[in-house]
């Protein structure tokens, strides 16, 4: 019975392409759609929110700064005197003090970004151009704790959003923040402001245009009560003035380099300007976008607003070296927090938002073990947090995390501090500050990180303090970590699940809007439940989750091919060449895409096997050749040996010096038999070439040819005479040369005749018996009658004798 929300009809008049007659409308790139795309959207999607009818109506914003030119043509329509005051002059009129330098232009410029009137042919259009806008003149004089407190606690039941674009000096050596009265004003506003839903404090993150500073030394942006806003240029690159710290929550556009397009806004003396820069320009923009969300749902609490920002901000094209995905699946960076604000996504979330459960504050026990901080060393302290399981302030799901630290140190600027959450998310709480020579250290200073938002609180938290001396320092007084403690802010209930007994503020839902989803969840959802039937509606996943570019995620039982699962139940992409893998690097493949082979040992996927590898078709992998092989066709067929080895059959053996051979057992070269010049093994039978004075005879070297062999002399191409003993023809017993005509003696039963051995009949020489004095055969021989066959056979012996 789940009904998807009816698609927004784009036909209604509000959706015609928006155009305003304000002079600078065409220069407001950060609000416009991209030039050539219909139903286009700029990255902050402000037009998308306007098209849904949200322009800041009934929301009150005030700018804490140097005053507001309330009669500016673009401001007087929306100016709200009830949201204004002059603290410096202690009167009701916040008009800025004019002088030749125009130094008090800041407040008026901020105010225009928020709520400059639309379609009045003047200057610009404010992002929340129907909101009420006020100003507090409080910077133009002695700024004291009391001045700040008065400003921050002005009309908390009337004012919804306070926007401030100032802070402690960012000279890179100041550590300062709200003093006791200002802190009370923040807490008051959070507790009682907006009829108990909490004032919204928007703050420009710590930059001031000077370098080498770190906004974690700015106590205003470090506060959990302020929404710290960072900046990005139109290109998505880091602007030169930006400081990074872990307390930044989100980002809006601002000016960047001189070639980047600028922010246009109202200026003193009824003018316009494009010189408003830095995070000063970003904070009011964020305040205005929050005003659109408050119009969509006026019942949002100060924490609901921060949750919606975390959920809807996007990394998009913002370039930062440290983007990471925390264990809750949110992308976050020290430069931009959770990314660029998305006004349309915020108002959509706001429309159907269910208030998050009450905030719990878990102050974990302080670790008071004193540790010495030595130069070039790391102090690592692990704290096993329970999340206060044993008391009503139990925190399971994190929001902000604060680390209270007391450190003494001879040179504070040499310190840098990291905090790693139990889920492995590392926040840099402090970076080195070159100009901070202070010996004051940190006294119970509160560093804050938003990077663990949505993660589980319990587990090991690791604090690391690095001491990197930037110049020679006295070693006599090393630094000391005196004490540190964790303060975990969050909830014990999942912030986005509806628990049946949970008090829901349903009056913000109109009957036509979609009811809560209480149908069955996808099997891949875990016990946290879901907001719809699909695997992408789960609150949390049973097994793993796939995260898509648009920040949605889907629960899966197994990671699909081309993905691997990490220790945080996320399916993360493998390297492009891998089919399956164990990590995202190219050397973490376990199988390869078709056409590629896995290189054994390197775990990389290659198109062809390199030297010393052969392709094993069964496993489609490049396997290593045997040790001594440079190239091989298989594991036992070597085709080329490495230097120093020589191919012996299909194997490579060590190349030994002449006169030695490679003994595989002893894995060494050993001498050949003395008769061998070279050999393939031990003994005289293993000769491959004979020593001088020896003759090669059947793998042996002999001093003279054995019987049955004759001495052969061949002249090789290079004129060298090769002498060896060659085997006689098989018909000879002994011979003087090759073939059957060089026999020199025959075996029994054969007669040598003209150098050849012929089968002999029984040769009884006639002389032996029948003939007296044997003279018959002698007569035959004398008269040359042996060639007569018959006589030859009769006198075979006498005829066969020489002479």
């Amino acid at each position: 019975d789940y009904k998807p929300a009816p698609p927004l009809s784009l036909s209604s008049p509000a959706h015609s392409n928006i155009f305003y007659n304000d002079a600078k409308w065409s220069s407001m790139w950060y609000i416009h759609c991209n030039d050539d795309v219909h139903n286009c959207q700029s990255d902050m999607n402000i037009m998308g929110a306007w098209k849904r009818g949200y322009t800041g109506k009934n929301v009150v914003v005030t700018i804490l700064d140097d005053g507001i030119e309330r009669n500016h043509p673009d401001l007087f329509q929306n100016y709200d005197p009830q949201a204004s005051f002059d603290v410096n002059g202690n009167d009701m009129d916040p008009m800025p003090r004019y002088d030749a330098s125009n130094e008090n232009k800041h407040g008026t410029r901020c105010a225009g970004e928020v709520a400059a009137a639309a379609n009045n042919s003047h200057c610009i259009v404010g992002i929340a151009y129907n909101a009420r806008i006020g100003g507090v003149r409080m910077l133009d004089g002695d700024v004291t704790d009391m001045v700040e407190a008065k400003s921050l606690s002005l009309q908390p039941q009337h004012i919804d959003i306070y926007s401030a674009s100032w802070g402690p000096d960012d000279d890179g050596k100041t550590v300062d923040g709200p003093a006791s009265l200002a802190r009370q004003a923040f807490e008051n506003g959070i507790r009682m402001g907006r009829k108990g839903r909490g004032s919204i404090f928007v703050w420009a993150s710590g930059n001031g245009g000077r370098s080498r500073d770190h906004c974690s030394c700015d106590g205003y942006t470090n506060s959990i009560y302020t929404i710290s806003i960072s900046s990005t240029a139109e290109s998505g690159r880091k602007p030169w003035y930006l400081e990074e710290c872990s307390s930044t929550l989100t980002t809006t556009y601002s000016s960047g380099e001189n070639y980047d397009r600028k922010i246009i806004t109202t200026d003193l003396r009824h003018r316009c300007t494009d010189s408003h820069t830095g995070t000063s320009a970003s904070a009011p923009m964020a305040a205005a976008i929050i005003a659109l969300a408050l119009e969509a749902n006026p019942l949002l609490t100060w924490r609901d607003v921060q949750h919606i920002i975390v959920k809807t901000s996007r990394a998009g094209h913002l370039s930062a070296p440290d983007w990471k995905t925390n264990a809750a699946g949110y992308n976050v960076s020290h430069l931009y927090g959770f990314g660029l604000m998305d006004a349309e996504a915020m108002v959509k979330e706001a429309e159907r938002w269910k208030q998050v459960p009450a905030q719990h504050v878990c102050v974990e026990n302080a670790d008071r073990q004193i540790r010495t901080i030595r130069p070039e060393h790391v102090v690592r302290s692990v704290y096993k947090a329970t999340g206060c399981t044993d008391n009503p302030n139990h925190v399971i799901y994190l929001e902000h995390v604060v680390v209270r630290i007391t450190i003494t140190h001879p040179r504070r600027g040499d310190l840098s501090i990291n905090l790693t959450s139990p889920s492995g998310t590392k926040s840099q709480l402090l970076a080195n500050r070159l100009f901070d020579h202070s010996m004051e250290g940190f006294k119970n200073w509160e560093f804050m990180t938003t990077h663990c938002w949505g993660e589980k609180a319990a587990g090991d938290w690791v604090l690391e303090i690095y001491d990197s001396p930037s110049q020679l320092r006295s070693q006599k007084v090393p630094g000391k970590l005196k004490e540190w403690s964790l303060v975990l802010y969050g909830t014990s209930l999942h912030p986005y699940i509806l628990s049946s007994d949970k008090q829901r503020s349903t009056d913000m839902l109109t009957p036509t809007e979609e009811e809560e989803y209480d149908g069955p969840c996808d099997p891949e959802c875990n016990e946290s439940g879901c907001e719809g039937p699909g695997p992408h509606h789960c609150i949390n996943c049973l097994h793993y989750f796939l995260k898509f570019k648009n920040n949605t995620r889907m629960c899966v039982s197994e990671c699909p091919s081309g993905f691997f699962r990490d220790d945080k139940k996320r399916c993360k992409k493998c390297s492009s060449l891998c089919e399956t893998c164990v990590g995202s690097r190219s050397d973490q493949c376990t199988t390869c895409r078709s056409g590629l082979h896995l290189s054994e040992g390197a775990n990389t996927c290659v198109a062809s096997c390199g030297d010393s590898f052969y392709l094993d078709h069964d496993s489609n992998s490049c396997r290593r050749c045997p040790e001594s092989c440079k190239r091989c066709a298989s594991s036992n067929i070597c085709t080329e040996c490495k230097p120093g080895m020589s191919l012996q059959g299909n194997k490579c053996q060590m190349t030994c010096n002449p006169g030695t051979y490679y003994n595989g057992h002893r894995r060494a070269c050993e001498p050949c038999h003395p008769a061998c010049a070279t050999c393939a093994g031990t003994g005289i039978e293993a000769c491959t070439r004979c020593a001088d004075g020896y003759l090669f005879e059947d793998w042996r070297c002999v001093s003279t040819c054995s019987s049955g062999y004759y001495l052969s002399e061949q002249t090789s191409d290079n004129g060298q005479v090769q002498r060896s003993c060659k085997k006689c023809d098989h018909s000879c017993y002994e011979c003087s040369g090759p073939g059957e005509r060089n026999c020199s003696s025959c075996v029994n039963g054969y007669n040598l005749e003209a150098g050849a051995c012929v089968v002999s009949t029984i040769c009884k020489d006639a002389n032996e018996e029948s003939w007296a004095e044997g003279s018959f055969c002698m007569l035959v021989k004398k008269n040359n009658l042996c060639q007569r066959k018959v006589l030859q056979q009769l006198c075979c012996r006498t005829c066969s004798q020489k002479g």
């Binding site: 140097d66 202690n90 407190a149 402690p168 001031g208």
Partner: protein, 87 residues
């Protein structure tokens, strides 16, 4: 490096229980002008002492500083100028 000198003003923040009348009486008693409640911080009042130097690197002394001895005065803070930079 030169430590940053604190600049004390002739304004005080005071927390006094018992309501505005009590605060007014105490202010008069010690020569302060009660400028009223600080924003909406309950029981917190802004006192101004015209005879104290407007800006000084020394916190102020004198009879008016005995105000902190008053039992109704729970907390008092002479205001110090803070360096605040526009972003």
């Amino acid at each position: 490096p030169p430590c940053k000198a604190r600049i004390y003003t002739n304004h005080w923040a005071v927390r006094i229980a018992g309501g505005a009348d009590v605060a007014g009486r105490i202010a008069d008693k010690y020569g302060y002008r009660n400028m009223g409640q600080i924003g909406n911080l309950k029981d917190h009042y802004h006192f101004f002492h015209s005879r104290t130097i407007k800006r000084s690197t020394l916190s102020s002394r004198g009879r008016h500083s005995f105000i902190s001895m008053e039992p109704k005065v729970e907390w008092i803070q002479q205001q110090v100028v803070k360096r605040r930079i526009k972003r």
